[in-house]
Amino acid sequence: MFDQARLNRLKERFGASLLRADMPADKRLFLYVEPSALKDICRYIFIDMDARYVISIGVDDRPFSGSFMVVHNFAFDRDHLLCSVIVLIPPDDPRVDSITDVAPAANWAEREIRDMLGIEPVGHRYPKRLILPDGWPDGVYPLRKDISWDHVPEGFDGGREYLFDEPPEGCMVVPFGPFHPTLDEPSHFRLYVEGEMVRGCEYRGFMVHRGIEKLSETVMSYNDINIMAERICGICGCVHSVAYSQAVEAAAAIKIPQRAKYVRTIMLEIERHHSHLLWAGLACHIIGFDTMFMQSFRIREPIMHMAEKITGNRKTYGLCVIGGVRWDIPLELHGEIRQLLDRLEGEWNPVVSSLSKDRNIQKRTRGVGVADRNAVKNMGLVGPVARAAGIDIDCRRDHPYAAYDRVEFDVITEQGGDVWSRLLVRAREVFESIKIIRHCLEKMEPGPLQAEIKDELPVGRMGLSSVEAPRGESHHFVITGENNRPRRWRVRAPTYQNLQGVPLMIKDQQIADMTISLGSIDPCFSCTDRLETIDIKSGVTKIWSQEELQKLANRKKA
């Protein structure tokens, strides 16, 4: 088997540093290694074995194994394998070697581990605060087990400011955000501008943190987290709920019934439809073409009606429980779904064909926001951004889940790597989704919708799951725990990686192209900021009082 061959190669090379290797399922590998050899092993996996970097996770395992854990996840897409490299770190000296030299894509993940758990990544190129607000006191690490979920830290310093880098020579600073008409959620891009060209940018985000991961460890229970997970994002909620359920089901070795898998697949594809159509409209609105925005929303509306008919709500489907799904797609609805798909195809086809010949739009999107193959590999970009650069990755085919191993579909790639290619990839993926739903409707068999769970879930097991959200790969990591809730749950949304590639995309482009480049990765900031935020209202209300905000608005401030 492939895994065995890889494992043997690793064993040959690193021998004594590999402490333990778990292969709980076909395509999963958990490798415990010595902290001193971590960087070399990651370099071997990332560069020599050409894996894709997924995420790094920090876990406070002190109550259970007495140490911290740092987990680096990699994916071998060709071989359908997800692997984790785990190190245990002594609690009195929480430091780990940073792997950003090897994989620049680990930049944010390691900063997050530092902010949230206090594990210092030694050798990180850019160790600045990422998640915690500027005034948060040092030494208080929210995700540690000794901090309760409603802890309000003392010493919150409302006046402390984030130290931005110096702009390069001759550049003016143009602030983009936190409030801007194009952005749906607040985020701050500090653009360094020379005339009309952008020479660099710095990102400060995570302003809509909600404390989801901490809540899941302390007050929510397994089935409650499903409802919370689907509210991580307003567009790709179902993806997070399915990914979380799959991670727990993988950890606890629960097999869900086949019909439930088909229902999950159909709802995921319906979500992909509505998300891609929404993005097409949004991208056209950003370049000033409002008519296309209205039309794509018009074409999208029947999908929302259908979701409401099946699940009871247009967006928050409430679909998954651990072990299955809550709603069924009865036979009467099959006919309506088929009609909907035919109508969707009939309306979207002429739009795509007229868009693809439209030179007015091509002028604004060709050659803009380019992310080439190198950038995609180094920054770990996923989803349509990677497929538009010619890299053929798609979790539905590479790490099959739900019913995707039983349906046929093509993975759409383009070669340009610019915004135009991403538009074409997303527009064509709508047709592939239609195909998948049609296959599912044909192949669905009657059966139960939820698995029988007779015993409590085993404790301390790890589960990984990668689901293809409309924006890319959404990766969840769960360690099951006591009291009916997980010990650790890490959500890595696709935008988390894609945002790290934005500075590369907008460098040496014009300001006018900044918004469409950002919009082309289909950013979902709510998916990205999902940690932290204990109630800091006490600190913030003092600063941003009504009069002060008023005065701030009236004062001239760039």
Binding site: G288, N554, K556
Partner: protein
Amino acid sequence: MNDSVIITISIGLANIVMALLLAPFCQGVMRKVTAIIQSRKGPPLWQPYYDLLKLLGKEDIESGDSPVMQRAAVYMSLATVLTIACLIPMGLSAPMNSAGDVMLLIYLLTFSGICTLLGGLAAGSTYSLIGISRQMMIMIMLEPLFTVAIIVGAVHAQSFRLDTVLDGSVYMNRGFPWSGVIMLVIMLLSFQAFVERVPFDISEAETELMEGPLIEYSGPKLAVFKYASMVKLIIYSALLIDIFFPWHGGISMPLQWMLFWLKIFCLVLLAALVAATHARYRIDQAVRFFALLLAVGLAAVVLAGFGY
């Protein structure tokens, strides 16, 4: 006062009053047409009137760098467009016909653009500065286009008088009006830029610049700027019709006037259709486009000089 004076004054006033009253209505028509193309109902036709009334009642915050220049920019902008409205025949002859010649008209048109620039400069925020730099680039390319059209007309008409030039003068040569037709095509292609609509509303791109030069204006000042831009729509349409589509030979008075306004509405419809179906261009693409048009326009002037 004898009757002819009263008639002259009322004719002159009718010109301006119609233009001022109908300016928001034309904007409303544009919004309605855009809404129909976007498969929705759209605001009522009188919505711009309500919008202006609402803005007049809002708080006037002076938050820019130099409030004095902000105020001056606002008043000058309104004054300029009102003056231009007095100079152009709109179905009836212009009331201030003898106040100047086409050169005055060209200067006033440029000046109305400069008022927006001053307004953005007075505000001093980053976005308004970027907005005015884009507006400057566009103005450098656009105003010559208009000047060239008028010069072609003046060359053919052998005079600079307002009522002669603004009366289909580009076609006034013997034989086929080559330069006239070339200028007509050029003007139609750049009409959207004159009236600041998509695809050329670059300086006020909402999604990129948050309103551009007008970002620091609120309440009555914003209402005046918005109103000035609505009147500009009418002014430029009227100019276009006067220079290129005058054709009123032989029709009696009230019908001739109504025909004029009918032509204005057709132009407004055309502008709305183009605005609804295009994406916004980037500044460098727009500048290259206009440079090309300018080159062709200069060739047309040369042709005009030779009598073609």
